[in-house]
């Protein structure tokens, strides 16, 4: 059997899901025996490659870069997994949606100007800092997603169970393994 090509991406999230992934400890070694990690924030690859088998997506779709990358991922990946609450429900990242469609200016002003101790300036370098989307969206609202792995973050044993299930084609997660939060 060919080695499976796995990618993990980090959209609008806190990286907690990736931390939890690293908490897999020695299972990571088992995993390394069966898969190739071809794209991830924890490896040095700039371009999302073609022919990826499985992609774990952390975070919600918050800015134009997230959106572009996600479409690229969908086109180049067999199976997408919404990895963690932000990807599935938008979670904390979506709290700005409560402020309505003109929230982006408001939150940038608040975070980078009002709350700044030094050098208060709104990030707005066109073409360098990606623009925020007017509304934070869950991954499955943008592209079809095959699997959902909830949790904030998903605990390591849950990630392990999920990956084992998927690799060995055993039944998917059920019951409390699907708990949000």
């Amino acid at each position: 059997m060919d080695r499976i090509k796995i990618a993990t991406v980090w959209l609008g999230g806190c990286a907690g899901c990736h931390m939890s992934f690293l908490d897999l400890d020695e299972f990571l070694i088992d995993l390394a025996g069966r898969v190739d990690v071809v794209y991830s924030p924890i490896i040095d690859v700039k371009e999302y490659p073609e022919g990826v088998d499985l992609c774990l997506i952390e975070g919600a779709v918050c800015n134009e870069d997230n959106l572009e990358l996600l479409h690229q991922i969908r086109a180049r990946t067999k199976i997408l997994v919404s990895f963690g609450d932000c990807a599935i429900t938008c979670n904390v990242t979506s709290l700005r949606n409560l402020l309505g469609p003109k929230n982006t200016d408001q939150i940038l002003q608040r975070a980078y100007v009002e709350a700044a101790d030094t050098n208060p300036v709104k990030p707005g370098l066109e073409g360098i800092v990606p623009r925020l989307l007017p509304k934070v969206r869950p991954v499955h609202d943008v592209v079809p997603v095959e699997h959902f792995l909830p949790g904030c973050p998903p605990p390591a044993p849950r990630i392990k169970a999920f990956l084992t299930n998927l690799l060995d084609q055993t039944p998917a997660l059920t019951g409390a393994q699907l708990k949000f939060g």
């Binding site: 499976i4 088998d53 499985l54 067999k78 199976i79 592209v143 079809p144 095959e146 998927l166 084609q169």
Partner: protein, 541 residues
């Protein structure tokens, strides 16, 4: 009051009638175009012409051809003046003397009038709704006398069963059966409620009846109270009908004064009181359990049935609740006989039905036709078709709970079963005609918005489901939806229909379902291509 008194009142009223009567419509529609001014000027013009002894100017209820109001009709010449202004008064008086006067007139022998069979609207536009004598002169309260003095309650129940009358509020439950259940339900106290919380967009049948013939409702309710063993009635009327409420209050006061309501009706031991309860603008209070909660002073939200109101209703007592039009049928049935009534209409739908004809149609107004009349007769012959030579596309019946019947089904007879088969309902009688300029998805969105705003918020499918359905319809109309969204809309329709608590929620998807059934292409035209049309679902590495 005895039968003798009743007959004397009638005789006296008829004896004082003048030779010529100018009936002036004083229902809410015509009043809003200055019908009161018209009546005032008519009275003045009569006085100026010195015709006080020959001509009576009578304020009456709805004269049906609402789009042409204010209306004035002369008896016995039958001339029907339309769009009358106060300035026209002298001309109308002049016309009484045979003078040729250029006034706008409508043909009282047009199909709009001749195809009608007034039972509920028999007194509408003829009697003065503010004078009980006027109602008595039209044989009013005779049926009540017969019921209380000459019939046992069970005879009245029998008559209602045999008449085949079905509830006119929309669902068409057999009235006799309902009355019988309340009569049989054990309880020291029972109630009769008249549901006058008419709220469907475009519907004004009940308002017209209340404004034009309030005593008919009172009489029907007292007979019902006698039949089921109740001594207290409530009329639950929406606050948006101030004129109806005023006339009802006046009618109750007059009937009490004559001993036709209150204690010892027709000098019998029978008591029956009627109080008015005024709604505060919630559409859901037309749903019977929500209505009863509202009468009790609680928040107007429905509760699961059973128990049905007939067993446990208002204040947990057996309660009979019927719609305005249903009660209006009661006295005529007793007065003219069950055979007469059962002879009108179709096999399963007896009698007549009042409709408020509105929308893209020449003759907007109030009509009453025998059950089984084809829709085509109503909209094309009586309604005169679409204005400006347009083509009729669909007819919406049943308000937000109903559906759209497409033009190819116009030959459908109007009865409970036929309309249900077409995915609509009889409803309370709103009939909105649409021509080819109407976009059906717009119509569905309009009704969905209505249901969303009027959901009481108690059960989740109706409260949150209508929000999502409305959202999807807006998305569709903005050309931002794809086939997956449409599938989701249909799935939600099915879910909300099957899981909502009350009729309002259960029927809220109907406007979508019925327009999807007959006008699916209008939805599909709006769909955008789905960039991910074939998701690789469940693919395994």
């Amino acid at each position: 009051m005895t039968l003798n008194d009743l007959q004397e009142t009638k005789a006296k009223e008829l004896a004082t009638r003048k030779k010529i009567v100018l009936r002036c419509c004083l229902a809410a529609g015509c009043i809003s175009s200055d019908a009161k001014g018209v009546k005032e000027q008519l009275v003045k013009a009569v006085a100026e012409a010195g015709l006080q002894d020959e001509v009576e100017v009578r304020g009456v209820g709805c004269m049906k051809l609402c789009c042409e109001g204010p209306l004035v009709q002369a008896d016995p010449s039958n001339a029907l003046y339309i769009k009358v202004t106060p300035d026209n008064a002298p001309a109308i008086i002049a016309a009484l003397k045979g003078g040729k006067v250029a006034l706008q007139q409508a043909d009282p022998n047009s199909p709009f009038f001749t195809k009608q069979e007034p039972i509920v609207l028999a007194n509408c536009g003829l009697i003065d709704p503010e004078r009980i004598e006027s109602y008595i002169a039209a044989d009013g309260y005779l049926a009540l006398h017969d019921a209380i003095v000459e019939m046992e309650p069970k005879d009245v129940l029998d008559a209602m069963v045999k008449s085949g009358l079905r509830g006119r509020g929309g669902a068409g439950f057999p009235t006799g059966l309902k009355w019988g259940t309340v009569a049989k339900s054990p309880g020291a106290r029972k109630y009769v409620i008249c549901n006058a919380d008419e709220g469907d967009p475009g519907a004004f049948m009940d308002r017209s009846v209340l404004e034009s013939d309030p005593h008919a409702i009172l009489e029907g309710m007292v007979i019902a109270g006698y039949a089921v063993g109740a001594d207290q009635g409530y009329i639950y009327c929406r606050a948006e009908y101030p004129l109806a409420i005023t006339r009802l209050q006046k009618a109750i006061h007059q009937a009490k004064r004559l001993g036709l309501l209150g204690a010892g009706i027709f000098e019998s031991p029978i008591n029956f009181n009627i109080d008015i309860r005024i709604g505060a603008g919630a559409f859901v209070c037309g749903e019977e359990t929500a209505l009863m909660a509202s009468v009790e002073g609680k928040r107007g939200t429905p509760r699961p049935r059973p128990p049905f109101p007939a067993e446990r209703g208002l204040f947990d007592c057996p309660t009979l609740i019927n719609n305005v039009e249903t009660f209006a049928n009661v006295a005529p049935i007793l007065r003219r006989g069950v055979e007469w009534f059962a002879g009108i209409g179709t096999e399963k739908s007896k009698g007549t039905k009042v409709f408020a004809l509105a929308g893209k149609i020449q003759n907007t107004g109030l009509i009453e036709v025998p059950m089984g009349t084809p829709l085509r007769t109503i909209v094309e012959e009586m309604g005169g078709g679409a204005p400006d030579g347009g083509k009729i596309k669909a007819v919406q019946t049943g308000g937000p709970s109903g559906g759209c019947i497409p033009a190819q089904h116009l030959d459908t007879p109007v009865d409970y079963e036929s309309l249900t088969q077409l995915g609509s309902i009889m409803g309370s009688g709103g009939m909105i005609v649409m021509d080819e300029t109407t976009r059906m998805v717009d119509v569905a969105r309009f009704f969905m918005e209505f249901c969303m705003d009027e959901s009481c918020g108690k059960c989740i499918p109706c409260r949150a489901g209508t929000v999502q359905m409305h959202h999807l319809l807006v998305k569709l109309l903005a050309r931002e939806a794809n086939a997956r969204d449409l599938a989701q809309l249909e799935e939600l329709c099915d879910m909300v229909k099957n899981t909502s608590l009350c009729g309002l929620g259960q029927t809220s998807p109907n406007p979508v379902l019925s327009t999807l059934r007959f006008f699916r292409e209008e939805y599909e035209e709006l769909l955008q291509p789905d960039p991910h049309a074939v998701p690789q679902l469940a693919a395994k590495p």
